[in-house]
Symmetry: C2
Subunit: 367 residues, 2 copies
């Protein structure tokens, strides 16, 4: 059993490896040789004054490579009012002001634990890799210019990811703060051959863009429907970045997965799980009415999913003129299984990671 760090994983994990691992995993899922458990959340009061406690888990298993991955988040969270909206933030409450997100891998041949590592790098890589995998099927093959909205870590992983699937020559980077977008360009430029440019307005970013990638943490739209042009491909990391009218306007829409709201188990709100986009929706209703929380089923949930693209059950881009869009609507355990298996296999091949005796985690007694 090996323990890896985010830094170690970042040192060897290539975006190409992730994209290929995901492509194979989605196909297996469709074929019935992989399985995925949707996310569940436990929410409860914390003796900490910083917020409430939330425990998130999801897992998935593959037949080839024979691995199960469980992804766990153990968070102190807080909901703040911001511009009329309720925003959830994570508080780094662990020693050293840190977060707690973990991936555990198990062998489906022997059952034994194989590896354990923080989820941060894999979390970023899997989001960008899924976007890139979708772009492999949906973006024009000759796409050369990308407008990138955002200068955070999702933006950072999307630069090499999109360059891995399309021959991008130019990436126009826009984010509201000039210093941020300039620092971003400086940091990312060495990693790709495409020319990165920090631009001063959204309009400048989208000029001649073949691909628009929204990679922000915004809960409101950053893309205008007016920007959708024939032949263009749009992608996002959160649905609200695009807005309904943009999503409706494209000729071809694909979403990540048909899963939607996780099951929430909230202390004081009964024993049964309640489906909700965010536990705050349950808490706002109050214990007596929590079961009335309605999970909105948005219109785009009927679009085909990424696994349908990969298996050819859904058509990819049909011609150079149509506009296409990939909605990265939800994260799933399957991504952690696919990318996690790749991390494990490379770490073992390269001899990276701290080894712990596997026997510490096994038992002779029948549990």
């Amino acid at each position: 059993m090996i323990i890896l760090s985010n830094e170690e994983i970042e040192s060897f994990l290539s975006i190409k490896t992730c994209i290929d691992a995901l492509e194979k995993a989605y196909a297996s899922w469709d074929k019935g040789t992989a399985i995925n458990r949707p996310r569940t959340d436990l929410v409860m009061p914390s003796p900490s004054e910083a917020g409430v406690y939330a425990f998130k888990s999801m897992e998935a298993g593959l037949y080839d490579p024979p691995i199960v991955a469980m992804r766990i988040n153990s968070d102190i969270i807080r909901w703040n009012q911001q511009g009329g909206r309720t925003i959830k933030t994570k508080i780094p409450a662990a020693p050293g002001d840190k977060y707690v997100g973990l991936v555990m891998l198990f062998s489906t041949v022997t059952g034994e634990p194989l590896a354990m590592f923080p989820d941060g790098v894999v979390q970023r890589m899997r989001v960008a890799s899924s976007s890139a995998l979708a772009a492999r099927y949906l973006a024009r093959e000759d796409a050369s210019t990308m407008a990138l909205f955002g200068s955070g870590w999702q933006a950072g992983s999307h630069v090499p990811a999109m360059c891995a699937v399309r021959p991008l020559k130019r990436i126009n980077v826009y984010s509201p703060t000039k210093a941020n977008r300039e620092a971003f360009v400086k940091e990312l430029q060495p990693k790709v051959s495409a020319e990165l440019r920090a631009v001063d307005s959204p309009e400048e970013a989208i000029r001649d863009a073949d691909i628009i990638a929204a990679t922000t943490n915004s809960l409101t739209r950053v893309v205008s429907a007016d920007w959708v042009k024939p032949g263009m491909h749009l992608t996002c990391v959160r649905v609200p970045e695009l807005g309904d009218d943009t999503i409706r306007k494209v000729d071809r829409l694909v979403i990540h997965a048909h899963q939607h709201a996780p099951m929430n188990y909230v202390a004081g709100y009964g024993e049964a799980g309640i489906a909700a986009h965010d536990a705050i929706d349950i808490i706002k209703k109050g214990p007596a009415h929590a079961h009335e929380v309605n999970v909105e089923h948005p219109f785009w949930l009927s679009a085909p999913a990424l696994k349908d693209l990969v298996t050819g059950k859904a058509q990819g881009r049909a011609n150079a003129q149509e506009s296409t869009c990939f909605l990265n609507n939800i994260g799933i355990g399957l991504q952690f299984a696919a990318v996690g298996a790749a991390v494990y296999s490379e770490a073992v091949a390269k001899g990276i990671g701290r080894e712990l005796p596997t026997d510490w985690f096994l038992e002779s007694v029948h549990p």
Copy 2:
């Protein structure tokens, strides 16, 4: 973060500690300061020829002590036909012919992982402790003789557990194989002041019994309804040990929890979870009909639960004459949180366990 072994846990964990921890946890659950996620199972083909792969997970959190426990089982399983029944067995496929069952504890104050250990000892202790806790409310206070069916590890943990809550003077042990019951008595006698006797027939076991404890792995009845007498308390670790007519005959019935069949996610059987007592029920139906699996809701599911006893919402034994019964119908994550928290607190106090740097499991990046 500490790693503990089953042997270490066994060396310090007392049954009294477990019973008290559980009593507090059930009360918290009822009060709404604890929360429990029901078990889910992932089932998929394994490249191993030994069987199929199953990943079981459940978790629960407490406000006081502020801990979340996740319990994981990573198993190779096989279904065998045995006397017209389908029996599930676990194959010890991990290195050294071992099993993989783990408990992970997290702090709900900081989110950080606190401990990780094999689940075997805690698994046994929590079953027996729940039985004993129920007996504290349901058995006659002067109960002095117990008939114990079984000589395996559940039987072994029930001896000190029941002695901890009632002033037992004699325990009659019956199991089909003479050598097993005699070895059991020899092994357990030093642990309690009650006199243990291996007896040659079930009838001899139940003579003058105030309590009948069925602690076998039998899927068919080991207790006859004719044995139920006024003032008697019955307890079991599996529902089929008692049989419906026995359960119907008692004056007062309490079950462990109102949870019933776990959600199963089976590779090749769609994306949605299917409630089933055992994944084999789904597999037998075949992919096209898996959604038709009907989970039987037995009549006893309407009885009050252990947490209702603890909080006084359900009446315990009302008089010396009535017969009572506790059905240990299902295991829940809450038991692992309660007992796990006690394990952690004692291990820290006694300085037991291997310490790993918690920082290995934390991250600075926002996951």
